[in-house]
């Protein structure tokens, strides 16, 4: 794990930079909607530009969360096998959440 420490450092910062921009954009967009009715939310998400940014946001969120949770597990779970298991579980869960978010955003934007 330590051999990829520099990669982890860079990936965490790169995804953080993406999230600063997209996170503020999303917070601003949501608070600017006329209402949080289904029509209003779907209308926002089906604008192609918004949908693509939401896809990027989903990927960055899942990735950044994965990197953060990994550090927490490595810091506090000391039993080697339990640590390994927790890391694998976190990786699988974040992959699933990331794919689910991306698919759902795509489905809202371009689905039937």
């Amino acid at each position: 794990m330590s051999s990829s420490a520099t990669g982890h450092f860079i990936a965490q910062r790169a995804s953080a930079l993406v999230l600063v921009a997209l996170g503020l954009w999303f917070a601003w967009s949501v608070s600017s909607l006329d209402s949080l009715s289904h029509e209003s939310v779907v209308a926002f998400m089906t604008v192609p530009f918004n949908n693509i940014l939401l896809l990027l946001l989903s990927a960055a969120l899942a990735y950044h969360s994965y990197l953060g949770v990994q550090v927490v597990i490595e810091d506090y779970v000391h039993a080697p096998r339990l640590c390994w298991f927790a890391l694998v579980l976190s990786r699988a869960a974040h992959l699933a959440i990331g794919l689910l978010m991306a698919y759902t955003v795509y489905d809202i934007g371009f689905g039937a």
Binding site: A16, L19, L24, A27, V30, L36, L100, T104, G111
Partner: protein, 124 residues
Amino acid sequence: MSNTERPLSPHLSIYRWPITMLLSTLHRLTGLALSIGLLVFTWWLMATAAGGSDYETAMAVLCSAVGRLLLLGWSFAFFLHLGNGVRHLFWDVGHGFEKSQANASAWFVLIFAVIATAVFWVLL
């Protein structure tokens, strides 16, 4: 061998936390909270994709008293983690390491998070 008269080192419970220590702890706690919030966000997205009664149910849960309180917490966690993340990025490129600067930026981030959360909810 053991000297019961010697002074004890301060324990966390009686230690007055410097603001920098508070922000460091909060950064990790808010990060974890936001990771859990990602599950709720995904659930809301899926309800949006499903539409109809699924969306109504999700919004009813999220707009309940408990739901609003949690969302208030998550929005504050979001702005605090984002602000403190930017603070970390400045450190990464070598700025703001002086004690006075670190203290000032910690207060700045804390105040930014409070104001940003308030603005978000007023506009919402």
